[in-house]
Symmetry: C2
Subunit: 343 residues, 2 copies
């Protein structure tokens, strides 16, 4: 350990450009000797952000060796696992290996934790890739990572399998925001509602709208759509391609008034306009998808004179880890579904 307290935000590890914070930096220092206000983690599994994993997988045409090579070369080049195309990262689970004396924390060496800050700003060293789980979008590694003083984390609970917790915590911000935004009686649209974050959002939305409200899920594959129906996670499910705004708008308006709140949980580009069209004037759109384009959203709404409030999906909100893990505790069906996919 280097006996020096450094920047709580981790700017001391930015190699270039200087003055930036680690997330925005091109390259950060992934030397694993910690400063006195850092925490060293022995990493077990990386949970790659869905937008990032999809991009890497597609550019590799699904080839595992190519995915491994891509991941290694990103970390080699940048000192962190930040996809240069999508800008996004993911998160990790591991064991606390060393805690600098100048950091206030309830952690102890040996604790199992998930980091709740993005891999796009986390110093990471990969010694070996052990396994790539394409369906789960997870990678088992031998390696280390560092948590800065302001870095948030969650201790892994005893009652939920590790990898399931990891998968859920990755998208914990989404259902927590739904809980903030959705009120009784509302009409809520969830685009990409058949995916990981979408299912958690749908569950929370059904809970919040109560008996007078309505939740409508828009999902790409018939299979996932059926799953949502079977689990009673929506009052209606639309099977459609959210990159085709006019088609989605038509289907949506045939079965419902426009949405008070729309949650966008897809992992592909070009779905801003669908979100805007199905949301009513004065409604709210919460873009959780990392594939959202700022200008397409801003100009798209203006372009049709739609007065909607559009929110950038901050991955963090207070209590988000507990709220999302509690969904797993409450719903045995979601737990089983996620276990089959992520464990």
């Amino acid at each position: 350990m280097i006996n020096k307290k450094r920047c709580p935000y981790g700017t001391h590890r930015v190699i270039e450009p200087k003055g930036f914070l680690p997330q925005a930096a091109k390259k950060i220092d992934n030397n694993m000797e910690i400063y006195s206000n850092e925490i060293l983690i022995n990493v077990k599994t990386l949970n790659i952000d869905s937008a990032s994993f999809t991009q890497i997988k597609n550019s590799c045409k699904g080839d595992i060796e190519c995915i491994k090579k891509t991941v290694l070369s990103i970390v080699e080049e940048r000192g962190k696992l930040q996809n240069p195309v999508t800008g996004s990262g993911g998160m990790l689970i591991g064991t606390v290996e060393e805690i600098g004396p100048d950091i206030k924390t309830d952690l102890e060496v040996g604790d199992k934790i998930a980091t709740l800050v993005s891999l796009s700003l986390t110093p990471l060293r990969i010694d070996e890739i052990l396994d790539v789980k394409v369906d789960a979008e997870q990678i088992d590694i031998k390696g280390k990572a560092i948590l800065f003083e302001t870095g948030i984390y969650a201790k892994l609970p005893d009652d939920i399998p590790e990898k399931l917790a990891l998968a859920v915590l990755d998208v914990a911000g989404a259902p927590a925001q739904v809980n903030k935004l959705v009120k009784p009686g509302m009409t809520v649209a969830i685009i990409g509602g058949g995916g990981k974050s979408g299912i958690l959002c749908a569950y929370q939305a059904i809970k919040n709208v109560g008996k007078d409200g309505k939740v409508i899920v828009i999902e790409y594959s018939k299979e996932n759509a059926q799953k949502i129906k079977d689990l009673n996670l929506a009052h209606h499910v639309i099977v459609g391609d959210a990159t085709k705004p006019m088609e989605i708008y038509k289907q949506f308006s045939e079965i419902s008034n426009l949405a008070d709140v729309t949650i966008n949980n897809v992992n592909v580009e070009g779905t801003e306009m669908s979100s805007i069209l199905i949301t009513k004037d004065d409604g709210i759109i919460y873009f959780f998808s990392m594939a959202t384009s700022f200008t397409r959203a801003a100009l798209g709404a203006e372009g049709i004179g739609k007065d909607v409030t559009m929110i950038i999906g901050n991955g963090y909100t207070k209590g988000h880890a507990e709220l999302s893990l509690n969904i797993i505790r409450e719903s045995n069906e979601i737990k089983k579904l996620f276990e089959s996919k992520y464990c």
Copy 2:
């Protein structure tokens, strides 16, 4: 005129990709024969979006002929003036030349209007570029444009010079949002507060915070900072580079508690993190800047565990044209300042 009513959103003019709305399309049809629910405009001046103009000007190293050529080739290629790098457009003023019979409107042929939808989705034909006004970021042309049925516009007022109205209407969404977000007693930060939209936002913020509140402007050039001080548009002005988050944070926290609301009005990239750092937990950030990156904002806030609500600057909100023109009517000083720059 083609005696057929087509899509109110203008999808019938999208050449590629099919199924997209005009704003997201690569290329739209700028044939100037209107459909029965379109309006034909005889264009006088284009007001280029600041992010777009800055990009074009820089790539041309300020050369006027190069700027002209770039603008012409964009419109040639896309059928609209949408900067392929920034994705943004701007707006225009002109005279109504023809009104399709199937459109409900209070307009008459000969009315002078400003379009309030972005040039990034407006079918445009440029016959000749008459003048490029670099400081005003405006281009006088001979040409035509088309407004779709859902396209919003404002009649140009009699009491405000045309080009001044154009300049103000371009950014009308910003002060109108400030009016929605800022309450008495708040601490408000305005990044890029010395620019066009920034000045209007500062004026509105000062009005809304009242005597117990505080408005702090962060501005790049000393000259603009002084202007803000002279006009009493802020309680404090920080001269600094918003792309350097740690420096801005330091300067800001030396003179104030963190902001309840931060408005970002810059025209350069990489200022998300400054906005996040100077905003308090549970605060709101309104990104009006078109140079905002969705992922940098989303992951940046998560990266330091900051629970802020980040809003995408929708250019439209109800009553925005009137509100912003009223600022010019109320403040003779801002009127004079803008006249010297934009008229």
